[in-house]
């Protein structure tokens, strides 16, 4: 899965390099900036991955946490070891969160490497028009990666909860991915704008703030609070469900 994620920035960079069609118009945000600086491959790749590829992989990992162990027959042995049910949930969630970070970093690192290989590097002109040093821009990239990782924590908690509901990992994965798509679809409907601030996918593409001077932290803060809310609610639901569940797998 990580390899598939790494392929996204590589494909984007090669496509831009081959067609040289970077003259504005169409395509995802930041696409026209790639030819000025290879680092923008990272941001284009994240813009492409955040709505679809990252939730897909996170859904697979988070949906598999408990249901995967159950279908393997290992859940009962972990519990009688005894791993402790709360401890098992916490460890599984940390594992899913670590995957969110790893997946985001893979996209960023692959994007930066292929970007610098095919396009110019050096100082970067950011969205606000200011020019910053490469080191500064790399630092901003790490903040973007952190933002994207935090964005996925709510979805991971939902996946963990769904995973405690079933012994069939594929079902839990599909349900988690469907919820993420549903959240994004609802986010597209202007009639539901009162609901938008409560959708876990609402701030997913808000990382552009880190590419302006001065950096605005308001999106980051709101997003982090929202994701923490989802973590608390779905973490509690997962605990409520799992703590008293009869393990019959």
């Amino acid at each position: 899965m990580l390899a598939a994620l790494a392929a996204v920035p590589i494909l984007i960079a090669i496509a831009v390099r081959v067609t040289r069609a970077g003259d504005g118009g169409g395509g995802p945000a930041f696409l026209d900036r790639i030819e000025n600086n290879g680092l923008f491959v990272v941001f284009v790749a994240l813009t492409v991955c955040v709505p679809l590829f990252l939730p897909l992989t996170v859904g697979v990992v988070a949906g598999d946490t408990i249901a995967g162990e159950a279908s393997n027959g290992t859940l009962r042995y972990l519990l009688i070891a005894p791993a402790g049910r709360i401890r098992l949930l916490v460890v599984k969630y940390i594992g899913a969160a670590a995957f969110c970070l790893a997946a985001t970093l893979v996209v960023c690192i692959a994007g930066a490497l292929i970007g610098f290989a095919l396009f110019p590097s050096g100082s970067v002109t950011i969205l606000s028009g200011d020019t910053v040093s490469l080191a500064n821009a790399l630092g901003r990239s790490l903040l973007v990666a952190l933002y994207v990782t935090v964005s996925l924590l709510g979805l991971s908690a939902i996946g963990l909860f769904v995973s405690t509901l079933t012994d069939v990992p594929v079902g839990a994965m599909a349900a988690t991915i469907i919820l993420s798509v549903a959240s994004e679809v609802l986010g597209q409907l202007p009639q539901l704008d009162w609901l938008h601030p409560w959708l876990f996918s609402n701030y997913w593409l808000g990382f552009g703030d880190f590419l302006r001077d001065p950096i605005s932290w308001s999106n980051f803060g709101t997003n982090a609070a929202l994701q923490a809310g989802y973590l608390i609610v779905f973490g509690a639901l997962a605990y409520g469900r799992f703590a008293a569940k009869d393990i019959l797998s």
Partner: protein, 318 residues
């Protein structure tokens, strides 16, 4: 027997799934230090009972006490002292046998990580898997997985071992090794609770047994107590089947229906309320001019008892 002498004690333990009671009101008493056979046909509620003993499922009503504490409330205090094999082994197919054991051992908060490598190697050695320790579990045969499951139960010294069908899928050598292993563990003072539908196995290794049928506990006690309930019987080898049956019936014995064809060469009769002396039976037979070619007194086997308790039918109940 006081509660302190019992490794497992259940009172009115019941597990209901919807309207169907998988386990109905069972009172188990497993003395410390015993090798306890838990018998029953498929689907009689053995594994559900074991799940409740291990705190994997909560009873609908009643109580399960393991090593003196109530389950599932005392999971974290009781389970480190209990090793178990539940409903077949469960392992990650892409990890080696040794890595699987290390992973499960590290899930146990109370197991020391410093001695982990040595304990894993020792457990693998005890079940004869040392040579296959580095092989991925997906390449294991059913019997090897079963052995690995038993090794997992032996990772740390345990006071109680709960083994659900431990010899499932094992070859005759493996079965014998498991028997020896159970004996050696028992001789070191561990209590062993073995569920099985194989009577011969239980008869060979157990000191106590309980029999489940359709979710209820229908008998429990020492092996001798269980056998005693059945009545002894005589087997008379003779060409005069009709004559012999008449004589035995007159002595108050119940003649078991023989084969319908003429091939039968012996008569089996179960002793009645007041058992006659074997010598008197032979004398009566000879007086009636029955040609007695063989005479044997048979004590009831555990199998007879098991079948009489759980029924002859092959079909899974309910």
């Amino acid at each position: 027997m006081t509660a302190a002498e019992l490794a497992i004690e259940t009172r009115g333990l019941t597990k209901q799934f919807g309207t169907y009671a998988a386990v109905k009101d069972i009172d188990l008493s497993v003395p410390k230090g015993s090798v306890f056979g838990f018998l029953g046909p498929n689907g009689s509620g053995k594994t559900t009972t074991i799940r409740m003993l291990l705190g994997l499922a909560s009873p609908t009503s009643g109580e399960a006490r393991v090593l003196g504490e109530s389950m599932p409330g005392a999971n974290s205090r009781v389970l480190p002292r209990v090793g178990a094999l539940v409903e077949g082994p469960g392992f990650y197919p892409y990890l080696s046998g040794a890595d699987n054991l290390r992973r499960l051992d590290s899930a146990d908060r109370y197991a020391s990580s410093g001695t982990r490598r040595a304990r894993v190697a020792d457990a693998l050695e005890r079940v004869g898997l040392s040579a296959a320790a580095g092989k991925k579990v997906k390449a294991y045969s059913l019997g090897m997985k079963q052995r690995l499951g038993i090794a997992n139960a032996l990772l740390t010294p345990r006071e109680l071992l709960i083994l659900d069908e431990p010899t499932n899928g094992l070859d005759p050598q493996g079965t014998r090794e498991v028997r020896n292993l159970v004996r050696s563990l028992a001789s070191h003072g561990a209590t062993i609770f073995v569920s099985s539908h194989l009577l011969a196995e239980i008869e060979q290794i157990c000191t106590h047994a309980a029999v489940m049928s359709a979710g209820s506990l229908v008998a429990q006690g020492t092996l001798d107590e269980l056998r005693k309930v059945g009545r002894p019987r005589v087997r008379v080898e003779t060409p005069d089947i009709q004559l012999a049956s008449g004589v035995l019936a007159k002595l108050g014995m119940t003649v078991q229906p023989a084969a319908v064809d003429d091939s039968a060469t012996d008569v089996v009769a179960v002793f009645g309320e007041k058992p006659a002396e074997p010598d008197a039976i032979v004398a009566a037979l000879v007086r009636a001019k029955v040609r007695v070619r063989g005479f044997a007194l048979e004590s009831p086997s555990l199998e007879d008892r098991f079948v009489s308790l759980t029924g002859e039918g092959f079909n899974v109940d309910h």
